[in-house]
Symmetry: C2
């Protein structure tokens, strides 16, 4: 097992009716920014529950955070924060709204020239406003980690940063929010969480037995409960299991002491930036290519994954790996997630464009062994047409 | 799944050489109490590593915390704390030293008449000194929770309290400490962690799929790695897996959203208080009795446990339960832990003494369903002679 530091102070308030508890988590004299997205929370009743809990607090609203939240929009919220002395951000939404909240929290008190440098040049976050979240779409795990991904439309760039300073103080996870979600968002959420686990699991063995089994626990639960939620989004227990899986997939527990990959995400981000494909869909496209092209270095873990997740036991390792990839693809497709670039009508010229962008940015030699270079990225993408 | 709140801010520093990192976690002008036990840390090099890390800090030493730490000894440390304006407690030891540190941290700033009331009358902890830990004996999980158990010799009482205010700020988990442990302490640690999981798992199903699988992950890893550590305590990887299991067994993750039992602990504490039997040994004695006597209300989970942990699949539920109990006993015995009261030469009169004490204290109607009353406690203990 590798050495590790685990630290996660987000307080999780999980279950029916927990939105009302946020008033106990806020400081009486806070000036709060209530941040949300396209307004679905006004249709499904969450907005009403939140504003009822905020009754008596001083708060300002900023709506309209878009999927793949933009730097440009976030900076407008930063102006609102600074013009009004806002000192707490309450993000009510999915991954996009919460990620935006994290960037706004850091940008509002950023000491340098342009907060974009936090993303583009890895400038360290030295300070940030405190934030809390009400999660309305289980998927990214952002409600219990310090990561955020922000897009800058003018540069077609989608970049991320991580800081313990933007870890939410609290997050409300009420599975009842799932009932009003469109099927595609549920399918995306299941896929996203599944591949988050894969990025921290399908690498090489370091004899971290508990972490492996915990990662497998999440995968097995997503496979068992995901389809139930998709079938009936009002199934509270299935939704609760799905929701807790998405949070546990990326809160630091399963990555403690093990190698991490993240090449599927890095390549996938390019597909979103260039073609606007949903984040989870890009992952479902890229992952099978990563498994195929990197099968030599991932062999031991793919065999373990094949056996423990898909009950595949074949004496021929190559056959086992092929079957594991096929099962993985079939799972995403069963959720309604297409897994080939051609399914999204992406032109073959995209490959060279992505390779060039990643090379320019120095995003090569990625993956747990830094073995994924230009050639491998090219092969991974080619294998997905 | 039940509603839950999960909140755990302890920073875990895990791995070889992490003791030196404690200097980064302490405030420069802190006055520190270095708390330890019988002095084994002076023989195995841990004391030297800790004092080297404390070089430049102002610290006071208090050694001699005994197994089943006593109120009397803790109160002497409280005097040292208050006489010297100590404002941070660094516990270097196993569960006993860390539990003592928690009680000292709360008692030193206790506002009421006698800090014993925190234990005897559940007086709330309103404030506590901050504390950190260096774990030298993986077992109780106290390094990442807010629980402590303290014994008062004069009353033959062993009582517990829980407060988020005594959650350690940081805990160093260096698996190298395991190499110098006596076999019995390792066996006790494996047993203790195993039964901590059982208390949060072997209840009744609430469709909490991920929590169940995570609990099972810990049990399977303890079964796989525990014997390796016992065989060769210098096996770093096996020790690391064992150590991380003991922490994860009781840090709040697996209990989130599920019922809890704890009757084995409550009955076991009486055996320690009256006869001085090691904590883990009392649990190994009592648990099979709880499984047997409460098999009707625990049936569904015992069958799941039998299948997923011991690969027992029998069409007759009663046979499955009998086999699961037998496997559980065999596991403890394989570690060298005796599981019958008669093995410890405990007289049969103990049963009525325990029943009386628990009745007096109101510790009846215990367990996840509050179904364990006087008769059940009597039956549980009788079944273990």
């Amino acid at each position: 097992m590798n050495n590790f530091v685990f630290y996660n102070h987000t307080k999780i308030l999980f279950g029916k009716g927990q939105i009302s508890a946020i008033s106990d988590e806020l400081t009486d004299d806070s000036k709060i920014l209530l941040l949300y997205g396209g307004g679905s929370i006004k249709r499904n009743g969450i907005y009403d529950q939140v504003t009822e809990a905020l009754n008596g607090f001083e708060y300002y609203e900023f709506g309209g955070i878009e999927p793949n939240p933009s730097y440009e929009k976030c900076m407008k919220a930063v102006d609102l924060v600074n013009d009004n002395g806002i000192d707490f951000i309450l993000a009510v939404g999915g991954g996009s709204v919460i990620d935006a909240a994290k960037f706004i929290a850091a940008a509002a008190v950023y000491d340098g020239e342009d907060p974009w440098d936090i993303l583009a040049h890895n400038e360290p976050v030295e300070d940030a406003l405190p934030l809390g979240t009400v999660l309305t779409l289980p998927a990214t795990g952002t409600e219990m980690n310090g990561n955020a991904v922000i897009t800058r439309a003018e540069f077609k760039e989608k970049l991320s940063f991580t800081s313990a300073l933007v870890l939410p103080l609290f997050s409300v996870l009420d599975p009842e929010v799932i009932a009003s979600l469109p099927k595609i968002q549920i399918a995306n959420g299941i896929t996203d969480a599944f591949i988050h686990v894969i990025e921290q699991y399908l690498t090489y063995p370091v004899n971290a037995k508990l972490q492996d089994r915990m990662a497998e626990s999440i995968l097995l639960t997503l496979i068992e409960e995901g389809p139930k939620v998709l079938q009936n989004s009002a199934d509270y227990d299935a939704g609760a299991n799905f929701m807790w899986c998405t949070t546990m997939a990326l809160n630091g527990i399963i990555k403690s002491g093990v190698p991490e990959d993240w090449s599927t995400h890095q390549i996938g981000h390019e597909l979103t930036a260039l073609h606007g494909i949903d984040h989870a869909q890009t992952l479902a496209i890229v992952l099978p290519g990563v498994m195929k092209v990197m099968k030599e270095s991932k062999k031991d873990k793919i065999v373990q994954y094949a056996k423990r997740i898909w009950q595949i036991e074949n004496t021929d390792t190559n056959v086992t790996i092929e079957q594991a990839i096929a099962k993985t693809i079939a799972f995403f497709e069963s959720l309604g997630i297409k897994t080939k670039l051609s399914d999204y009508k992406i032109p073959i010229t995209t490959i060279e464009e992505i390779v060039e962008r990643m090379e320019e940015r120095g995003s090569v030699n990625i993956g747990e062994n830094k073995l994924i270079g230009i050639d491998e990225i090219r092969k991974i993408l080619k294998s997905r047409f």
